[in-house]
């Protein structure tokens, strides 16, 4: 007899297995090739790799710090107040998430480039230009990655019980104290998720950086740019691209594991 339930279950399992294989094979290929490649470990110690790694780490850290500083108030306002134009701001925040990063790069160039909307007057007044500087790398990362934090933080703040905050106020706690002692701890899992997404996105930023900041070792060549340069024939070669990819993969896995551990503790509290 034909059993519909069984057929459905079977199909679900089969589809999951096929996707699981598709999902795991690329990473397996990367690791397999990295192990086979005798030069992997040697390449990881080259100046170009070290510079790219250092640059990626500190630019993405600054990006996350800036996202926290400027993004938290934005997320809080979006979650709690109903100022005019709120829906427009809300939609605009999502724009960089939906847009290809290359578009973000072109947009940054037309705004902050030497002939850009703001870039041109700034250069004529101060002589300062944004292009080809680490500043430009951070700007590209911030535009592309901050929305991920703001989005997560906003839903985190929305989920906090407003009654508890009110109780804190009636007990004489200041707004700031209430925010840091009540709101932030309650929204912590969401905030952490936002931080991880924002950091990961800025570590992975390629398109906007390449277009707006350029590609120069030690200054604007982050890890993803070093990977693509290696693939396009830079001295690191394909083996270098694979070695760099391996670092990024291991770093990503470590962050995810760490995040899960921290988040489950935050939820438990």
């Amino acid at each position: 007899m034909f059993n519909l339930d069984r057929t459905v279950t079977g199909t679900v399992v089969l589809l999951s297995i096929v996707f699981g294989i598709f999902f795991v094979v690329p990473f397996a290929g990367l690791i397999d090739r990295a192990i086979d490649e005798p030069k992997t470990w040697e390449l990881l110690r080259t100046t170009q790799v070290r510079q790219a790694l250092t640059l990626s780490l500190w630019t993405s850290t600054i990006t996350v710090a800036l996202a926290l500083l400027f993004g938290t108030p934005v997320a809080y306002l979006l979650a709690r107040s109903h100022f005019p134009g709120r829906t427009i701001v809300d939609a605009l925040i999502d724009l960089p998430i939906v847009l290809p990063p290359t578009v973000a790069g072109v947009a940054l160039l037309t705004a902050f480039g030497r002939r850009g909307l703001i870039g041109e007057p700034i250069e004529s007044w101060t002589g300062f230009t944004f292009g080809f500087r680490t500043t430009a790398v951070i700007m590209a990362q911030l535009l592309v990655a901050a929305p991920f934090y703001i989005r997560a933080a906003k839903s985190g703040f929305e989920a906090v019980d407003v009654q508890v905050e009110r109780v804190a106020y009636t007990l004489g706690a200041s707004r700031l104290r209430t925010f840091f002692r009540i709101t932030v701890p309650q929204a912590m899992p969401a905030l952490l998720a936002g931080i991880v997404l924002c950091w990961a996105r800025s570590m992975g930023e390629l398109g906007a950086t390449l277009i707006f900041a350029g590609n120069f070792e030690g200054k604007t060549q982050t890890m993803p740019l070093a990977v693509i340069s290696a693939f396009e024939g830079s001295s690191l070669g394909v083996a270098g691209a694979i070695a760099l990819s391996l670092i990024l993969l291991v770093a990503a896995l470590a962050v995810l594991v760490l995040f899960r551990a921290v988040a489950s503790r935050a939820v438990a509290r």
Binding site: R115, F132, L210, S229, E232, G237
Partner: protein, 283 residues
């Protein structure tokens, strides 16, 4: 304000030029058709069919696209698919097993990377090109080749592995020779101005067109595609190098007959005429 105005004024004159050129081109084509019959028909090989995948240096973009159109006129069942990128990126792709039928490189070094691995054989030089300095039309501190070494110049080049990036560094080395060079530290001072290693020649041109960089070194053929935004400064002949473009059919391809026909076409008078039209020199 003035720069904006002059840039706008550039359009009508460019249009006028185009209007003037079109009838001339038309006349040239008619001339070709008249000459077609007997002689060249006899020499034309049998038409090939199927897809021909051609991986070609970025600088060949416009010339090869037009050559592709011409090629399919005589081979209507063939379809030429191009992938344009830095030759260094293409050589990596080919050695990684990209299914290409033809590789056209902007230098022999990148072709050698492919032939050394046995992925292509018997390359033939089919064109030459001349590097030149390009600067934005207005406001660049670079107005001569020697200005490249001036402190504060924002220079962009293609990466050192990209053919035009390598040629550019060779030129700077030539200009730093003890006898007859600009100065012994010319290359060092110029490379200290380097702000970005772009992925290919067209990316360098874009940075100049946008005015982000003050100067770059690209091929004269690429500079010619952007005369509205950029100014070309010739590199003194005693320092300049002549870029040699080799072409070969590649092992990973599926259309050997198509590859052979494309090579023959590029080396034929018709193919060479297209390349000459875009400013490439004879091999």
């Amino acid at each position: 304000m003035t720069t904006l105005f002059s840039r706008r004024a550039g359009w009508p004159s460019a249009l006028a030029l185009l209007v003037l050129l079109v009838p001339l081109l038309g006349a040239a084509c008619v001339g070709d058709d008249d000459a077609m019959p007997t002689a060249s028909l006899a020499a034309t090989p049998a038409p090939v069919e199927g897809e021909i995948v051609v991986l070609a240096a970025s600088s060949l973009t416009d010339a090869f696209k037009e050559a592709g159109t011409k090629f399919t006129e005589t081979n209507p069942k063939a379809k030429v698919t191009f992938s344009f990128a830095a030759s260094s990126a293409l050589s990596t792709q080919i050695n990684e097993g990209a299914p290409a039928d033809v590789f056209a490189s902007a230098d022999s070094a990148q072709m050698k990377i492919v032939t050394d691995k046995g992925n292509a054989t018997d390359p033939v030089v089919f064109a030459t090109n001349l590097p030149a300095v390009v600067v934005p039309k207005s406001g660049s501190p670079v107005q001569s080749f020697n200005d490249l070494a001036k402190p504060g110049v924002r220079l962009v080049l293609a990466g050192p592995e990209v053919p035009i990036g390598r040629y550019a560094r060779d030129i700077l080395t030539n200009a730093s020779k003890a006898s007859g060079g600009v100065s012994a530290d010319f290359s060092g001072k110029t490379l200290a101005n380097l702000k970005s290693n772009e992925s290919n020649v067209r990316a360098v041109l874009t940075k100049i067109q946008l005015g982000e960089a003050d100067a770059g070194i690209i091929y004269t053929t690429d500079a010619a595609t952007a005369t509205i935004d950029v100014k070309v400064i010739d590199i003194p002949t005693q320092y300049n190098v002549i870029a040699q473009y080799p072409i070969a059919s590649t092992k990973g391809g599926k259309n050997a007959a198509g590859a052979k026909a494309w090579l023959a076409f590029i080396l034929s008078p018709d193919g060479q005429a297209v390349l000459a039209k875009y400013g490439f020199g004879k091999p």
